[in-house]
């Protein structure tokens, strides 16, 4: 099957519901492609052949009996390996977690996607304990960017981006604490949705920073993002921050266009410390949307610094016992950052949390006069695998700590974002953040869909076969 012939999730589900394709054949095709190609991209850590085929057979039988099927009927999908999959220890990219007992049941998001008809085919590679922006993993091997195998996927949901760009599955789930959905979406050239903090249940996933952790879908089309997002919405008493709001499906309004929306470009902090191409990608999207106004996130540099502190401190607190007992079993780059995080004086962290409240209020005021804000997703295209430093605005900086400088001030206050892929030339893709006010994922998705419809943002599969 050529890359161009690989279908998106919505097309697969329609074909299966209309009996033009079977779930069994669809899943078998995905498993075959994973078998042939994944060795080169390193997206999967677990492939669930028996489980997936059994579920596909059951779905085909239900369709044969004339039973109704869900909007994701027969869609193969895979999840970052920090999400529970029954029968597997939830490794979260680590060596240490492999000693955990196997999960007794799937995480909430897996159960909800399967209730909509989707079929889980595997678990995906990620940076250790999600403290990562590269997609590199010393235990499982690095994920490789399908558009240029010697470049990073971005992380920490690196396998989630690689699996999409390689056309192994049409839908994946990732997690995003500081940018871990948006960065690999940008580097791998696919769409990613980081919903509002609390919108999607995180129950049955391994945490990193509870006050910043989100789960969300990644896909090669905006419709697929919306279908998956809608299927996962609902309150969940097992996640202490899951919202009790009534679900607000985005798919029904997806084709509404951008008429009447006030769209602006983020200036100031978001218009410096990046490569020219990163800002060119934003300009292309802004021009297509007719967005000429510029707004400024107040004190964004401090927001990023505060997110950095809270991440290090909360992450270190989570892992302190493991740092005491098994320090040599961590990726050294993760261990050293966590140990430093454990040593942060409490007043520094409390101050960052109090600043967070101020920043949240200030940014919400911004949304009084604008509906959607555009910003770069990353400061550059995907660096080379193993690259440790890059130059931004003439300053040499560590790659790992700085890939997320444009994503951190946004997730810091839980705003919903769709990362959209932009191809300026024949080189690697870039990403743009389409940012909305809390609970307005629908607006960000509508804008993303308009950009997709106009051919500004596309997510083609890499030619690997």
């Amino acid at each position: 099957m050529s890359a161009a012939a690989i279908l998106d999730a919505a097309s697969i589900a329609t074909a299966i519901a209309e009996r033009r394709a079977s779930a069994r054949a669809t899943v078998a095709d995905a498993l075959d492609r994973i078998d042939r190609i994944d060795g080169r991209v390193g997206a999967f850590t677990d492939v669930l052949t028996d489980r997936a085929l059994a579920r596909a057979n059951a779905l085909d039988a239900a369709i044969g009996r004339g039973e109704p099927v869900g909007p994701l009927a027969g869609v193969p999908f895979a999840v970052k390996n920090l999400i529970d999959v029954a029968g597997l220890p939830t490794r979260a990219g680590s060596k240490i977690n492999r000693d955990r007992p196997p999960a007794g049941r799937d995480g909430t998001v897996v159960r909800r996607l399967e209730a909509a008809g989707a079929i889980l085919v595997g678990a995906l590679n990620m940076g250790e304990y999600a403290y990562d922006f590269t997609g590199e993993n010393v235990h499982d091997g690095d994920a490789h960017n399908p558009h240029a195998l010697d470049h990073m996927t971005g992380g920490s949901s690196g396998g989630s981006g690689a699996a999409l760009a390689a056309g192994l599955v049409p839908l994946t789930l990732g997690s995003d604490t500081n940018g871990s959905i948006r960065v690999p979406s940008a580097f791998c050239g696919c769409f990613g949705l980081k919903p509002t903090y609390g919108r999607i249940s995180r129950a049955g996933s391994f945490p990193f920073v509870g006050s910043l952790d989100h789960l969300g879908p990644m896909a090669r089309s905006v419709t697929d993002l919306a279908l998956a997002y809608d299927a996962m919405q609902r309150p969940d008493s097992e996640d202490p921050v899951a919202t009790t709001r009534t679900p607000e499906p985005a798919a029904p309004g997806l084709e509404s266009g951008i008429g009447g929306l006030r769209i602006a470009v983020a200036g100031g902090y978001f218009a410096r410390s990046g490569d020219r191409e990163a800002f060119a990608a934003v300009a292309r999207v802004a021009e297509a949307l007719g967005a000429s106004r510029t707004v400024e996130f107040p004190e964004a540099h401090r927001a990023r610094a505060a997110a950095y502190l809270i991440t290090a401190a909360e992450g270190a607190a989570l892992h302190l016992d493991r740092l005491r007992t098994r320090p040599r079993d961590f990726d050294p780059a993760v261990r050293d950052r966590l140990i430093a995080g454990a040593m942060i004086p409490a007043p520094f962290v409390e101050r960052a949390q109090r600043f967070r409240r101020w920043y949240r209020n200030a940014v919400l005021e911004l949304f009084g006069s604008v509906d959607v804000i555009l910003a770069p997703a990353t400061p550059c295209r995907a660096p080379k695998g193993g690259q440790t430093h890059f130059v931004l605005d003439g300053v040499t900086l560590p790659v790992r700590a700085n890939i997320g400088l444009f994503t951190q001030p946004i997730s810091f206050i839980g705003l919903p974002v769709v990362a959209v892929p932009v191809r300026l030339d024949a080189g690697l893709p870039l990403g743009v953040q389409v940012i909305a006010a809390p609970w307005r994922e629908d607006l960000a998705l509508r804008v993303a869909r308009q950009l997709e419809r106009d051919g500004i943002c596309t997510a083609p599969v890499a030619e690997l076969s």
């Binding site: 004190e299 540099h301 505060a306 005491r324 140990i339 430093a340 454990a342 960052a352 409240r357 700590a401």
Partner: protein
Amino acid sequence: MPETPPPFDPDAYAALAAPLLGLAIEPDWMPPITANLRVLAAAAELVAGFALPDEVEAAPRFEA
């Protein structure tokens, strides 16, 4: 992220804090740990440089 070292000695601090936290740090781990501490201290200084009214409380809820 600014990397200008604030006026404190991260090596001495890390050596003293590690036993309090129950962490055994091998010598070759110390340089990257103290490099991270410098970055974290600079971040804390940046956050502390913004004047906040005493009444602003932490509130990790983001509902509009």
